[in-house]
Symmetry: C2
Subunit: 391 residues, 2 copies
């Protein structure tokens, strides 16, 4: 029934990196891939045509936001997300669980599911493994995720184990519920296990052995040090079946992609590239710059020399600086396009290096040049966004 | 030296409407024309390519905003506005005078010019007829305007006369100052005279007889009833030379264009179509709708059936409604594109009707169908924007 498949075309001999192709009802996805996030059925500030031009092959949309507004039933009435938002490429929807924990009010977790009140109007909702399958069926994405429990960082061992075991039971319930729907959607499994290597191994083995055609690794990049995340992946990847695509949920930055690919990850999604763009942070091969900085006031060159994005092909850094400083709406678009193109060019370069057998050298060169935003800066920004979100 | 010219191609036998073509160093402009406003060297939320696709043939930029940020000298260093903002079509810049009166602080008006403090940082500036020529030379627009004095509504006769006479003296000083600059820019004259028919006639005659290749009518649409504006134009137009294009500054709405054309106006500019779009007000042949209204929540059709804009060709009204309600940035773009296309299609239809000799019928049909936002609603919105601007 499903027209989903995954083929691995090349593997790195010095790492776990691989290049492949995912086939979906809405087209092919070349891996490794970065998925721009379109939370409310739109990738903030850019059009579907601009996403295509930037090289996007699949986007992610958030079930939590869409179930509340405009509602999954309305989107179903419009033929699903693809036709509602005018994007005819592949789409992945998450389960909504992560947002329930980070945005919802008065959450109540039970074996049945998670009850919460909407952050918009306080209305009461219940997500269960079964209702999430219904909602995601209505949204109509190509790849869908089951309800899971994302443990907080840090997390006591007992709590981590309990959350993982419930996630496993919910995975089985989702698979059973999935049977009811005649659709070409593909349900991925989600690996949890918090920050315990042993639980991560156990979860990878358990979820990897269920009949999921793809696997997402959840519960990472939630505040733990980057080193800890990479260390956990070293326990997870070897336990996963080689013939299924692996999705690292909610990750990441340019350097995260470069490193994550070497640890066997095929798919990445994160709001970071689009969100930092809106705050003035634009990627270059040497790291993130702040386009609002006075040094760009009269810069005749593009944001990054040689960049092939629409923004860099047509506008000076000085003009982008002017738009950013005056908070003009065109800025958000031009900045977002640049960062998305940077991420999508990067995954293309990673893929080419894997096929050419030069991934390790590419990674080492990239990391030697690229200075990441420090953990401190990152944490500072995270707190600011948290505060802004609560207003 | 100037490559500016204007030819009238058709005239209406029942009104003062005419169709013509303006030639500028950056291309032709078919009149009547609507000029989208790009205050800060960007028409809010749309790209130059989208302006072209919507049918824009010339845009307006604001000298006041640009002289303060990023500064006219910087724009000159970048080869002028065209290359700075990546728009290769004609551009018109106003003189900055209107904004000094509406936005600047601590204004001091004298025969020399107008001193004011920036609304951004309180820095002190002096605009004179001569300095405005220098600043507009640096900005490099195809059509430039001289410093003038826009009287308030209502206005005592003596004040109106004094402002007009000073505007006339400044017009002569601008013409003299203009001689200094070797450029292909064309300086239009500005007719003033507040709300006094006699002064308006006098100003039209005076300015019309000076060697300006085009004429702008200023000081209207500043709060007076619409009927009063149309009545004043009946005194102005007959006094103006037939062979020069006539620009009605700061006007207007769809119905204003339809009426203004019949009173002999060739060029219009106004923030209204783009501003109301951002607030949810979208134009249709029957009047302005509020896309945020619940009635569009599940509307499968386009904003306006048969509309050929990018938005209506690709998105349901329900999706645009969703984006507007969730305040997504893509909404501002989609709404703006729709309203701009509406205005630019409308001037195309007006032009075609003039050439076909059916302008009067077109006007009457349009006005019979189109229900304008009432004066009360308009005033209410004006107050809201004023309040928002002051924050």
């Amino acid at each position: 029934m499903s027209s989903f498949s995954f083929t691995v075309e090349a593997e790195c001999s010095e790492s776990w990196a691989r290049a492949g192709t995912i086939h979906t009802p809405h087209g092919h996805i070349h891996t490794p891939i970065f998925m721009p996030v379109g939370t409310q059925a739109t990738v903030k500030s850019v059009s579907p045509e601009e996403l295509r031009e930037a090289g996007a092959e699949i986007i992610l949309a958030n079930t939590y936001h869409l179930m509340l507004r405009p509602g999954s039933q309305l989107i179903a009435d419009f033929g699903g997300l693809h036709s509602f938002m005018h994007w005819d490429g592949p789409i992945l929807t998450d389960s909504g669980g992560f947002q329930v924990f980070s945005l919802g009010h008065l959450r109540k977790l039970s074996e049945e599911g998670v009850a919460f009140k909407s952050h918009l109007d306080g209305s009461a909702h219940l997500l269960t493994p079964e209702s999430v399958m219904q909602i995601e069926f209505e949204l109509g994405a190509d790849i869908i995720l089951p309800l899971d429990i994302c443990a907080e960082f840090p997390c006591a061992y007992g709590d981590a184990k309990e959350a993982m075991e419930r996630t496993h039971r919910w995975a089985e319930r989702a698979l059973a519920a999935r049977e009811k729907y005649q659709s070409q959607q593909t349900l991925f499994g989600i690996v949890q296990g918090a920050f315990e290597p042993e639980l991560r191994q156990q979860s990878a083995r358990f979820i990897g052995n269920l009949p999921f055609p793809g696997l997402s690794i959840g519960g990472l990049s939630v505040g733990e040090p980057k080193e800890e995340m990479w260390n956990l992946l070293k326990y997870v990847t070897p336990e996963l079946p080689r013939d299924k695509p692996r999705h690292l949920l909610g990750v990441g930055s340019p350097e995260d992609l470069v490193i994550g690919v070497g640890l066997g990850m095929d798919m990445f999604d994160c709001v970071l590239p689009t969100r930092v763009a809106r705050h003035g942070g634009l990627f270059t091969r040497y790291g993130r710059i702040n386009i609002k900085s006075a040094r760009y006031r009269s810069e005749r060159g593009a944001i990054e020399e040689g960049c092939d994005c629409y923004t860099c092909r047509n506008y000076s850094a000085a003009y982008v600086h002017h738009l950013a400083r005056t908070e003009e709406q065109l800025y958000y678009r031009l900045g977002t396009i640049h960062n998305l193109r940077f991420m999508l060019r990067l995954v293309g370069q990673l893929r080419a290096s894997i096929i050419a057998g030069t991934y390790s050298a590419f990674r080492d060169n990239f990391l030697a040049q690229y200075v990441p935003a420090s953990e401190l800066v990152r944490e500072d920004q995270r707190q600011k966004w948290k505060a802004a979100r609560l207003q």
